[in-house]
Symmetry: C3
Subunit: 335 residues, 3 copies
């Protein structure tokens, strides 16, 4: 795919080559996200950060990424009930809002709404999550994190051994990550979940058809053995018909420092799409893992800013100008 002026609606748009290019751009932009450098390349540009469903962290991550490139952010943080009540179509909303900014990030509770919106938009649109459907930037930051963590040991995504643990039925992030892994070679995927929350068959089939090894079980300790990445997920309570039903599964696969040490290889990296459920009855990743340098969950969140910067810079075609518009940092940085 060509990023320039493209809408980013689904991870299915990406081939391996375009992901490689995006991640190279992300590597290049990381020092700007980490405040070792600063650029004003998007000075004067406006991001329309249209969150028609609240999501503080994703919204602020997109906005910060745009600010880090020098641009302004205009935003909305909830459904515009008035215009909906007045019967406005997504096409009209998009036509109007796209006159107010140079690029739009949109989140909306309804599946496929972002694609419908993009049809009316005169500027590029990035899907910030359209309900149960897609959240492509989360999948990209997950894959970028896997790549970065493996690179520290001179490994690549080809040959990856990964365990995905928890609610694999409802977890939008594991679905998207599974699809992306089909673009790579020689991968071992260990799926650990209650039988009722297994990864959908069509995704398992895709992995197998891509030539990958897939092991399905409900045994946490066995699942943790011999993998590079443990990708833990939360029970997606909000997708169950009742919280009683969700409670049946909550807390079944808890990982803590003792279990990690007993079962995992020393270099095994722990990931989670966040938020992790830290209540005592859930606690999928215990707080005693916090000092463990293999806990990559906050590096994952940091990588979200980097990957979003890479998308903005690629779509708006300024990657080659980032260094030209560097500017000094005057303040004390603690990062």
């Amino acid at each position: 795919m060509d990023f320039r002026s493209a809408h980013i609606l689904s991870i299915e748009q990406f081939e391996r080559d375009s992901i490689d290019r995006l991640f190279e751009t992300a590597d290049f932009l990381a020092p700007y996200a980490r405040r070792q450098k600063r650029t004003k390349v998007l000075e004067g540009a406006i991001l329309g950060n249209m969150f028609f469903e609240p999501s503080t962290r994703t919204r602020v991550s997109f906005g910060a990424a745009f600010n880090l490139l020098g641009g302004f952010v205009r935003e909305t943080t909830g459904i515009d009930s008035s215009s909906l009540k007045k019967g406005e179509s997504l096409y009209d909303t998009a036509r109007v809002l796209s006159g107010y900014s140079d690029i739009i990030c949109m989140r909306h509770p309804q599946a496929h709404s972002v694609a419908e919106f993009a049809e009316g938009s005169r500027v590029p649109v990035i899907n910030g999550g359209d309900g149960p459907n897609e959240h492509p930037t989360q999948a990209l930051l997950d894959l970028y994190t896997i790549r970065s963590e493996l690179a520290a040991h001179d490994r690549t995504i080809d040959g990856l051994r990964i365990a995905m643990i928890g609610d694999l039925k409802h977890g939008r992030t594991v679905h998207s990550l599974s699809k992306l892994l089909c673009l790579y070679k020689n991968i071992t995927v260990k799926l650990v979940s209650p039988e009722a929350l297994a990864l959908p068959n069509y995704l398992i089939d895709s992995l197998v058809n891509a030539g990958h090894r897939v092991e399905v079980s409900n045994d946490l300790e066995n699942g943790l053995k011999g993998v590079d990445i443990v990708y833990s997920t939360r029970i997606q309570e909000e997708r169950f018909s009742s919280s009683e039903e969700a409670n049946l599964y909550r807390g079944q696969f808890r990982l803590n420092e003792t279990i990690f040490t007993a079962n995992c290889e020393p270099n095994t990296v722990i990931m989670h799409p966040l938020p992790r459920d830290s209540r005592s009855d859930a606690n999928e990743l215990d707080n005693d893992l916090n000092p463990n340098p293999r806990l990559a969950i906050f590096r994952q969140a940091d990588n979200g800013v980097i990957v979003r910067m890479a998308l903005f810079a690629s779509i708006l075609d300024v990657v080659h100008l980032v260094e030209k518009y560097e500017a000094p940092i005057h303040w004390a940085s603690r990062r």
Copy 2:
């Protein structure tokens, strides 16, 4: 009127000359809104975008207009229930908030609240809509659109033939536009509405007293004939005592491509203050008009940004400096 440091509270402040000057400024700023040029003239200035009633599009339009001139935007997006509950007066709120910015745009559900607020403010205040009372920037962008669309055929507002259609009783925008048209000469106004939703008599009287021709009817097809502008409006459901009552009128005056072709002159321009009601039972402007180049409703919305830029630049007295502080655009623009 002198725009410098003025509050913009009502369209009744404007004479023909001040509108001419504002629209000339708007023409001058249009390339900046369209991303053909960029200016940093308001770099460092702060807009207080105080929306005490939600309105995504108007709020983002004001904010984007200020960003396009280089300034920062601080904003609020709903009623500050806590301060109201604590018994604070609008005067106090204005005194305090006006210490936080260089200019304020305020929207509030209560009629005349913005004028009361302006009395306490130490910086210029623009009325972003005060309930049933006024929304002066909408009236200005409507008139600017009429002027721009006519100019494409070497016509001026003097001599205009316009049909206003729909809920002419409750539509704040048609009221304001009627008042503005009284500043011009030799205008034909065709008013098409159900009898119960007719334009108030005092407005008809004003138009007649200004020397204009006014025709009142409830016949859509006849109303469409021989006009330069069709200004369609939504049934303002929220102003009726019940939705049943509103339903009596919904969908009575639907314009679509077939009706347009059969009745309108080829150059007739279609306007609407938006949002248009695209539900099947309303549908005042059918989606089959979308490819029609005479459908100006999205140009209208784009003009809102331009007119707001012109107001900001005029009030803050930087029109003559816009070009001096031009800066390059580095990113790919799709506009």
Copy 3:
């Protein structure tokens, strides 16, 4: 204390020397807040303005202060119910959000939540109010206002005579101000309240132990006599078990121009933490005081921006660079 990279969680962190330095910085920055000068020293820096409890004026004041130093602001304006529901800890929230900005201001309804948040944060955190606990920047702006108002008559905080009036039991601001006054010498504090709403004993003890004179009464007119500062407060209705109980006390200590003239010295300055309750049954400071130049309540609010600028500049260690990155102001300023 050393401001550089420090969290500002409580006024108990401050000694007299650090307050002196902060207020000197505030004096230095005042012309920038008043638009006599402009600086871009924090250009490119990002404030995370995280208001997990609504507070329009405090939020906008922090944001404006950061903009006035040239920086960007990303913000949130309400509790992120989704992440809380999903069981995320404040530690996790802080670790993630601190990757999105260079400094954070946080307000949260729960006492001590900001300190807990700061433990997870990788960037400096300023307490913007943690429920019933602390609101340190309000206390600092109050003390800065006292210092500034006294300085106009060549007086200092040492030797101050102050009356605190109203709900001294629940008023977070009078508690914090009392603590700060213990750092100074030779102060007379007149406490005027209904007996049931008296200042807590531990605070009276602290004032006495600091060598100050404390007079307790419920007599407004006597309390107003012989003081430099009248610090009036609102009945904190929201802290009472019922509004009926609050109504018992509302309107007991009303100050108006007649009472002021009859009882106060001509130079006595009137302060109030705002919002003042302007409803007729409360009206602790009558609107007829508005033209009185001794009414300092709006200067107080303006000082909030100045003190917050001083905190940002001190924590991010750019005070010495503010002048170096001065930039011109192009727009007409009414301040």
